[in-house]
């Protein structure tokens, strides 16, 4: 079965479309023809539709619910309230953060948009009509939307269910609206260094509340088959296996009787990690009615009720010597978690990996404390296109560096350079307990500064300031610098779990007799292109063309258990599992090849797509030959078939990094900011598919642009959401989005089988400080130190106004 006309080694490598090649995506054939398969596309026979009645109030007692008029509407099958769910003990559900959350309002509501009743009807129009007819009698209660006020002694008690509980899932609660205090680092040592430091900069840095807002909202179709007792749930799940386990624990249905399927997902960005009341209600409704029940949230529901992100008030102190060596960093966070603590973090990390806040810098001592607080806002706290709370940490340190540069009167690029962890310090132990696996920050930084002609830009900026002072222009120039370090790829089972499930991931490979393969993973793509890139990893490992490898994810009946896709963990964890499973295949293939070639295993060497007898290159067996032989030859001591499975528990996180520079024109009079240039250098270790990496960077930067420049979930003082539609919630169009220049360095992860680190979230993590720093930098010459995001027109205008630039 060897090729008749031998082709070059180079050609064989190319044919694989393996690691490092910009392979076109296999998913796109379907998507470009409108043949995606998203959850709302699913239609099952007899399917019913669920719709919520939601609270218009942010805090109120629910005195009564009258569902009679709704039930009288023809086509309405059921109206569920907490009372109906209570006998099943499903009126509350556990959150991922060790708290519990009402599925349907149990006596009171705690945020605007909270689920109060679930109407089930044979048509979505009928369900919507009937929802209007459910009559709820509310008694309004005082509302708290400010986390600092929530902690005042006389603040209203939000969570009456926790009354008197002085301990929560993460330790002591010191106030009725307090959730936890989480700390890392050495407080005493940090305070001591700061108190005697030559220079200290202190600042409050706020990372405002926002929302991942994928273009597809959340939803599911629950279908209980009363005959065989099997529950199938199709839904927008970034972690389908965890959903299955949670569904089993909640419902008492055994896990093998539950099938969870994530079909194509129209973007996730963290929004689809959590478990929402809609899923529980759809499942209950299907069990009760014996019919499939579909629940799809609308955009207002999405923005008001599922999965906000950020909302961290970060009070920082940074100490340094007069010549700019950072000596200590301290941060206290007041974290607004909303009405229930539903943050999606690994169990032992209620503030996620916020302690990566020392960033790219060699800081000898540091301390962080995070206070979680209840308010009358929606629950969530998800990792919106970032590893858990890493974007908050990166924003904090990159702002503090800028503030310190101002305090020192130093150039911010130089301040970063002298404090970077040096290449030879890796693996580096951070003051807050992380072991950075690898990095080469100085190389990346110099490359970035050179690429944009940093010195030239600074000269232009200085000239502009002079021109502005002479009255010749009303536009300022901002140069936004960022050097970020991420921590992704959660994570080692020894310290990372979600609801007790270790955060390993998995890959199962089956090679077919004629040399094609299927690989199934515990992750689920939401646009990242796993079907394309994981096949590339495998192609390079097992020597079969990526085009001959099908990648499947998302069906818990067929895929191996995994923790899902979020926190940039797919490549670091499932990608590693894929490589390791591939290596198991190759090990077995080597035995088969040895038998076929009548040599000892050790006499063979791997060459792209084949095993070759050492010193006799004409004697070889290709992977295709071996696959066939594995099924049709009796090989002594070797089982038939060619399959492997790997469950990969990563030894460490990975630490992607990057250098981003944003050049921004700022109109002092209108507050309008235009990005003139954006340069993004990413180091994500080994690059699997440069085309996909570039696409991830473009997308993440655009999300960062939105967050930094206008996107927010804003509340008024009585808890009304002011930004509940896309009129007010800023998603940039092609018109507002700038052109990006991408670049890279490549520092492989030493502990990852192929050296890859993950990239999807870097541009959000690094992009936000780059845009924000550009705005700040434009006003540095006029005395600005700190101003809160989002930098929409009026807030930028206000900076100028407060600095007296409007004359």
């Amino acid at each position: 079965m060897n090729e008749l006309a031998p082709i070059s080694r180079e050609q064989r490598v190319e044919n694989l479309k393996g690691l490092g090649c910009s392979r076109k995506r296999v998913e796109d054939v379907r998507f470009t023809q409108g043949r995606g398969n998203y959850v709302d596309d699913l239609k099952l026979p007899g399917m019913l539709y669920g719709d919520f009645v939601r609270s218009p109030y942010a805090h109120a007692r629910v005195k009564s619910v009258d569902k009679s008029a709704a039930l009288a509407v023809p086509g309405v099958v059921a109206v569920l309230t907490a009372e109906d769910l209570a006998p099943l003990n499903l009126h509350w559900m556990p959150t991922l953060a060790g708290d519990k959350q009402m599925v349907l309002a149990d006596g009171k509501v705690l945020f605007q948009g909270q689920e109060v009743a679930f109407v089930v009807a044979n048509d979505r129009y009928v369900a919507a009509d009937a929802a209007e007819l459910v009559v709820i009698d509310y008694e309004e209660l005082p509302v708290v939307v400010d986390p600092f006020k929530a902690l005042e002694p006389g603040a209203p008690v939000l969570r009456e269910d926790l009354d008197g509980q002085t301990t929560g899932a993460h330790g002591d609660r010191r106030h009725h609206n307090h959730i936890f205090l989480w700390e890392a680092g050495d407080k005493a040592a940090t305070d001591e260094v700061i108190s005697s430091a030559e220079v200290v900069a202190e600042e409050m840095v706020y990372y405002h509340r926002t929302h991942p807002c994928p273009l597809e909202t959340c939803g599911c179709v629950a279908s209980m088959d009363a005959v065989n007792g099997k529950l199938t749930v199709h839904g927008t799940f970034q972690a389908p296996h965890v959903v299955r386990t949670v569904a089993s624990l909640l419902s008492g249905i055994e896990e093998h009787k539950i099938r969870v399927v994530s079909p194509d997902i129209g973007g996730g960005f963290g929004n689809k990690v959590g478990v929402y009341p809609g899923y529980v209600c759809a499942i209950v409704a299907s069990i009760v009615t014996g019919k499939p029940v579909k629940w799809i949230e609308d955009r207002m529901e999405n923005l008001t009720a599922t999965a906000f992100a950020r909302d961290y008030w970060m009070k920082g102190r940074i100490a340094a010597t007069k010549d700019g060596r950072i000596t200590a960093l301290s941060c206290h966070v007041t974290a607004d978690h909303g009405a229930f603590d539903a943050c999606a973090d690994p169990t032992k990390f209620p503030a996620g990996f916020f302690s990566i806040m020392t960033g790219s810098y060699d800081i000898p001592v540091a301390h962080v404390g995070v206070d979680g607080v209840y308010t009358n806002k929606a629950p969530g706290g998800v990792a919106y296109r970032c590893s858990f709370r890493v974007t908050e940490a990166a924003y904090f340190i990159e702002r503090m560096i800028e503030v310190l540069a101002i305090e020192l009167g130093m150039d911010a690029a130089e301040l970063r350079r002298i404090n970077f962890i040096r290449k030879e310090q890796f693996p580096y132990q951070s003051a807050l307990g992380w072991e950075y696996d690898s990095g080469d920050y100085h190389t990346a930084w110099d490359k970035a500064l050179t690429a944009i002609d940093y010195q030239g830009l600074r000269r232009e900026q200085a000239d502009r300031v002079e021109a502005f002072r002479r009255g010749e222009t009303r536009k300022l120039l901002g140069i936004g610098l960022t050097h970020f370090t991420e921590i992704v790829g959660a994570g080692p089972v020894k310290n990372c779990d979600i609801l007790g499930m270790g955060m390993f991931d998995s890959c199962e490979i089956r090679i077919h007799p004629t040399g094609s393969a299927v690989a199934r993973l515990g992750t689920i793509s939401q646009g990242q292109g796993h079907a394309t890139t994981f096949a590339q990893i495998l192609a390079s490992e097992i020597g079969l063309p990526a085009d001959s490898i099908t990648v499947e994810e998302g069906d818990t009946d067929t895929a191996p258990y995994g923790l899902g896709t979020y926190g940039s963990r797919s490549t670091p964890v499932a990608g590693a599992a894929t490589a390791m499973a591939g290596r198991k295949i190759r090990a077995k293939a080597q035995m088969i090849a040895a038998y076929l070639l009548e040599v000892h295993d050790g006499d063979l060497e791997w060459d792209v797509d084949r095993f070759v007898v050492k010193g006799a290159p004409e004697r070889f067996k290709t992977m295709k030959d071996i696959a066939y032989a594995s099924y049709n030859q009796a090989i002594p001591g070797v089982e038939p078939g060619l399959e492997a499975v790997s469950y990969y528990d990563p030894p460490n996180m990975t630490y992607p990094f990057g250098a981003y520079i944003c050049v921004m024109e700022v109109d002092v009079d209108t507050g309008v900011c235009d990005v003139r240039q954006f340069y993004a250098l990413d180091d994500c270790g080994t690059r699997i598919n440069p085309m996909v990496i570039e696409g991830q960077v473009h997308g993440g930067l655009t999300e960062a642009l939105a967050i930094a420049m206008g996107q927010e979930i804003a509340y008024d003082e009585i808890g009304n959401v002011k930004t509940a539609t896309l009129m007010d919630f800023f998603l940039p169009t092609a018109w507002e989005t700038p052109h990006y220049t991408t670049d890279f360095t490549e520092t492989p992860s030493p502990h990852h089988p192929i050296g890859a680190k993950g990239v999807g979230e870097s541009p959000n993590v690094g992009g936000v400080p780059a845009f924000s720093n550009a705005v700040h930098d434009a006003f540095r010459a006029f005395g600005l130190r700190q101003s809160h995001m989002p930098h929409d027109h009026w807030r930028v205008w206000k900076i100028a106004h407060d600095l007296g630039l409007h004359g």
């Binding site: 979505r124 129009y125 919507a128 009509d129 209007e132 609308d298 955009r299 207002m300 009079d669 209108t670 507050g671 309008v672 206008g710 804003a714 002011k722 930004t723 896309l726 009129m727 007010d728 800023f730 940039p732 169009t733 018109w735 507002e736 929409d792 027109h793 009026w794 205008w797 206000k798 106004h801 409007h806």
Partner: protein
């Protein structure tokens, strides 16, 4: 987001449309492109028993230019305004304004009649119509009447149009001049933080006529006679424009919203009005 049920009517002539309005009174609403009304209905912020769709009424369509006299049928879409060559020559500000409304898809269906008739202070065409000194034709049960755009608006969503009337067309004299529509918004699809229309005529080096109007800076469009007066007879030098801007600012009363507080809006309004005047003067 699901709208409540309604009865649908699609009359083929104006008389039938008026008869339907007459029959159902304030339960009925006419719909043109529907991109203001339908989202409101989907949010159930507008409950309408009878929707009267005007798309099949030929008399409401078309653009006619006869010398300086311009007539635009109410059902003319923004897209049609943008693409009309004669209009681009007669009153280029219409195209400039229409291009700043919403996005391409919305402009295909959004009509000039809908934009001026519903009284939304965020809509751009009302101020432009005031700037052009346009006249609206309203057809009702007792025949047609004409109302000047400068008189038509009384407050947010409150106009001189009666419930049983339909705005059928717009006419104005296209008398040239330098024209400009300047708009600041947060993004495509947003209403104006501040917007201003300016038409200036030049006689030698001095301004012989000036018309200034503004969008979303009060609960209705604002035509500032004082701003125009401040420019007429001047050479539109910096001090003259300062005076016009000050006069225009004297006529507005912006509301705080997600775009920012009143102080900010007034400041931006000043900048935008100035830019519109400068641009129009440069084109005069």
């Amino acid at each position: 987001m699901i709208p409540a049920a309604f009865e649908y009517h699609r009359p083929t002539d104006l008389a039938a449309a008026l008869a339907t309005l007459g029959e159902f009174g304030d339960e009925a609403r006419v719909v043109a492109g529907g991109h203001s009304l339908i989202p409101m209905m989907k949010l159930r912020m507008a409950e309408i028993g009878h929707v009267v769709d005007l798309q099949d009424i030929a008399d409401l369509k078309g653009i006619r230019i006869d010398g300086t006299a311009v007539w635009i049928g109410a059902m003319t879409t923004q897209h049609e305004l943008i693409g009309h060559q004669g209009l681009a020559a007669a009153a280029p500000i219409l195209r400039e304004t229409a291009l700043q409304i919403a996005d391409p898809q919305v402009r295909y269906v959004g009509t000039i009649g809908g934009n001026v008739a519903n009284g939304d202070p965020g809509n751009d065409m009302p101020a432009l119509m005031q700037c052009l000194d346009a006249t609206f034709t309203l057809a009702g049960p007792n025949g047609s009447r004409e109302v000047a755009a400068r008189d038509f608006y009384e407050g947010a969503y409150v106009t001189l149009r009666e419930d049983d009337e339909i705005l059928t067309g717009i006419r104005f004299e296209a008398t040239g001049g330098g024209q400009a529509y300047e708009k600041q918004k947060r993004k495509i699809g947003d209403y104006a933080t501040a917007a201003a229309a300016a038409i200036l005529k030049k006689d030698g080096t001095s301004c012989s006529a000036a018309s200034i109007a503004m969008t979303n800076l009060s609960d209705m469009p604002v035509w500032s006679k004082a701003a125009g007066d401040a420019l007429v007879g001047t050479a539109c030098a910096a001090a003259d424009i300062d005076a016009a801007v000050a006069a225009a600012l004297g006529d507005i009363s912006p509301n705080a919203d997600n775009r920012g507080p009143v102080e900010f809006k007034r400041h931006v309004a000043g900048i935008i009005i100035r830019r519109a005047i400068e641009q129009a003067w440069a084109r005069a």
